[in-house]
């Protein structure tokens, strides 16, 4: 038994001379017109990094403002800051984060294909993303938007004094970008798998991105049409969301959350995929309950559509609807719990090492568990009536999206860094960053649970003085967290030029992506692979790959 899952790939030299970074030229033009999924993934990585820092800067200012009960900024500035933070982080960082960077880079490699099914669409998707991003930044620069990322009517359609229509257009465009990506992934997964790559031999990362793509393709169009309705209402001063005109504001909320709740799963499912790759690799054991993990991803992506009105328990929906949606929300907690148990069980009787990707993965499991468990609180009808729109909810979804997804993003970034760049990152710095992020994160967001139960409302630029102590703790944590996030930016940048050469498989990992050179050649494999084994056939001692 070897660690390889493919046959037919001979070993290669440590330094690949021919790879996607050099083949096809290094001109700007060769990058901007590329159809190579790996280059597009790099373009995405660079652009979402920009937006991560834009959104992060807004977060820093928000936490700064909340150090004192009376606030530092004017309310208009503060309202624009959290709207900016929400829009940028949700649509320009979290949703594209793992799918469009690692998904783009890895899905063809993992299934043994030369590229995605539609490389031009892939590039178009990136251009839409960048265009939308520039439009959003433009809207911010000329005056900003103060509706919150949720655009609730009739505030957004009639009362807000921000550049709402521009922001709506930006979100609309980025939505189309995400539809195209999802479509591409679905077709690629169905139609481009290598010989022998059956569905149950797919890595969980591919399954997760597939489940994510289903949501992208089927939920995003509803968001698109909803935003068009809001924009039309704002421009024409007539519309079906305005009660003064006989419309129904709850209709907006139904349509919006029909997208935006499944979108929460767009923001976490790919993270599940990354963790399911890392944990078996560093525990040197097959993933526990592979089929359960796979089908719980699919279950989440389907049931994720059935729970949206749990955002509306106090919004004026009927009692009956509340009962139904709360029950369905409890149902969806089950597949998430299954995953946590499976990752934990994968550690059982393994040979665990603690490299940086594993630290991020363990951090992910811890933070996601807390986020998921507090999901039980907010899915609970009576409890939600007390905490909805408070910092309890803010803390809950940050545990999932920042504690979860961003940890997974960084974990994946470190794990596949050698594959993408051909170089190793400095291990000790990476471990320090992982620990800083874990502790900084908890210090930032755990106090917010308590604040929420005490009754501190979200989107408040000022607050009663009795809440100050917890807020100061939270802001202190945010500075630790900011340092944790800034650190990788420097050492990863350094490693691009000075890092040790990685070789094709530094982690002795299974999976097709490790069977080609690092960085991979433009068409991914010198000889197209044939798959003969299920994934994660790890054995205790890392051995030299292939005999």
């Amino acid at each position: 038994m070897t660690s390889a899952t493919v046959t037919g790939k001979p070993d290669e030299p440590v330094v690949a001379t021919r790879n996607y970074l050099t083949e096809g030229g290094v001109t700007l033009r060769s990058w901007l017109l590329t159809r190579d999924h790996k280059r597009i993934a790099i373009l995405y990585t660079l652009s979402i990094t920009v937006f991560f820092f834009v959104g992060g800067a807004a977060a820093t200012l928000i936490r700064l403002n909340l150090v004192t009960p009376s606030g530092i900024f004017t309310p208009d500035i503060y309202n624009r800051l959290f709207t900016l933070h929400g829009i940028v982080m949700v649509w320009f960082f979290l949703i594209p984060s793992i799918p469009n960077t690692m998904g783009n880079f890895l899905i063809p490699l993992m299934i043994g294909a030369k590229d995605l099914a539609f490389p031009r669409l892939n590039l178009l998707s990136w251009y839409l993303y960048v265009g939308a991003g520039l439009l959003a930044l433009f809207a911010i620069l000329i005056g900003g938007v103060d509706t919150g990322w949720t655009f609730y009517t009739p505030f957004s359609s009639l009362y807000s004094n921000g550049y709402v229509v521009l922001a709506l257009a930006a979100v609309l465009a980025v939505g189309f970008s995400s539809i195209l990506t999802g479509l591409n992934f679905i077709v690629t997964t169905h139609r481009m798998r290598a010989p022998g790559m059956t569905w149950y031999r797919l890595p969980v990362f591919v399954w997760s991105n597939y489940a994510t793509s289903v949501i992208m393709v089927l939920a995003t169009p509803v968001l698109a049409i909803t935003l068009i309705l809001v924009a039309a209402e704002r421009l024409l001063k007539v519309g079906i969301f305005d009660p003064a005109l006989g419309g129904d504001p709850l209709l907006f909320q139904h349509l919006f959350w029909f997208y935006s709740h499944p979108a929460v799963y767009i923001m976490i499912l790919p993270g599940f995929g990354v963790i399911s790759e890392i944990v078996p690799c560093f525990a040197r054991k097959p993933l526990f309950g592979y089929k359960f993990v796979v089908w719980s991803s699919i279950a989440i992506s389907v049931i994720g559509f059935f729970v949206w009105a749990h955002h509306m328990f106090v919004a004026g929906i009927s009692l009956y609807a509340g009962l139904v949606f709360s029950l369905l929300s409890y149902v969806i907690a089950v597949p998430s719990a299954i995953k946590v148990f499976n990752w934990t069980a994968t550690l059982h009787k393994g040979w665990i090492s603690f490299d940086a990707p594993m630290l991020y993965a363990l951090g992910f499991i811890g933070l996601f568990t807390i986020g998921g468990l507090t999901g039980l609180f907010v899915a609970n009808l009576a409890f939600d009536v007390h905490v909805t729109d408070t910092y309890f909810v803010v803390a809950h979804f940050h545990y999932i999206m920042v504690g979860g997804m961003v940890s997974a993003y960084f974990g994946g970034l470190h794990y596949w860094w050698p594959k993408v760049t051909g170089r190793l990152y400095p291990e000790w710095w990476a471990r320090i960053a992982a620990l800083l992020i874990f502790f900084g994160f908890n210090l930032t967001f755990f106090p917010q649970f308590i604040l929420g139960y005490l009754g501190m409302e979200r989107r408040y630029y000022s607050y009663p003085p009795e809440f100050q102590a917890w807020n100061i703790l939270s802001s202190a944590g945010a500075s630790v967290l900011a340092a944790g996030y800034a650190l990788p930016f420097f050492y990863l940048g350094w490693s691009l030029f000075r890092g040790k050469r990685a070789g094709s498989n530094p982690w002795a990992a299974t999976g097709l992506e490790w069977q080609t050179s690092s960085p991979p050649p433009t068409h991914n494999f010198d000889r197209m692979p044939t798959v003969t084994r299920p994934p994660y056939q790890y054995r205790p001692e890392p051995e030299p790959q292939d005999v």
Partner: protein, 218 residues
């Protein structure tokens, strides 16, 4: 029977032309699933309006121009036929027939848009354009305004789809005339055909929802 056509090599990411054709067709179907939900949001809004203000919607429905609407339905149904025949001609590699059928389909599409434009003009002169030029008295004025708000969005977005379809079909017709398709390679025709039929299906549902409302009433 068929003209000797080029059999282009598949794009580099595909192993075979079959794989490429399957991917393209499946991709279009996934896109159409997206489109269903895109129109679905609007249809939910329509359903809400109709369920909560049935009398007003019925009165608004009687304001619509049923003759143009019905003729336009006929036009689109016929264009679907010519599109289906075009795909059939492509399958058999009949270049001339393909070019002509595509041209007819595009012309029918244009006719549809022309009639739609004429209808919009009529609505403008009757002050039925919400927000810009709307004037209506009576108890149901606000519902009529909301109905026309949705009417313009539904038909407008549908019209954009028709326009895109016409553009694609014209492009296909030009390529067909140059002989780019053969019985071995006509995936673009087939995929565009799917899109065009879908646009027709959307209209099949819009027609009763817009034009046939309240016709049996006073």
């Amino acid at each position: 029977m068929s003209e000797a056509g080029p059999l282009p090599r598949p794009e580099p990411q595909y192993a075979t032309t079959d794989q490429q054709a399957e991917a393209a067709t499946f991709g279009m179907w996934v896109f159409l699933a997206t489109e269903i939900l895109f129109f679905g949001g609007l249809l939910l809004a329509y359903t809400w309006l109709r369920a909560s203000h049935p009398a007003g919607v019925a009165e608004a429905g009687r304001h619509t121009k049923i003759v143009i609407g019905s003729v336009n339905t006929l036009v689109l149904l016929t264009s679907s036929l010519t599109m289906a025949l075009a795909v059939h001609a492509a399958e058999q590699g009949r270049r001339k027939a393909l070019t002509r059928l595509l041209a007819v389909t595009a012309l029918l599409g244009l006719l549809f848009l022309g009639l739609k434009g004429y209808e919009y003009h009529g609505e403008w002169t009757e002050h039925l354009v919400p927000g810009l030029n709307f004037h209506e008295d009576g108890p149901h004025a606000r519902t009529i305004e909301l109905f026309y708000f949705l009417y313009f969005l539904l038909t407008g977005i549908h019209g954009i789809h028709v326009t895109i379809g016409i553009g694609l079909i014209v492009w296909l017709a030009l390529r067909a005339r140059r002989g780019s398709f053969s019985s071995g390679y006509y995936t673009p025709v087939e995929v565009t055909g799917l899109y065009w039929h879908f646009v027709d299906v959307v209209w099949i549902f819009l027609y009763p929802l817009i034009y046939l409302v309240g016709r049996s009433g006073p």
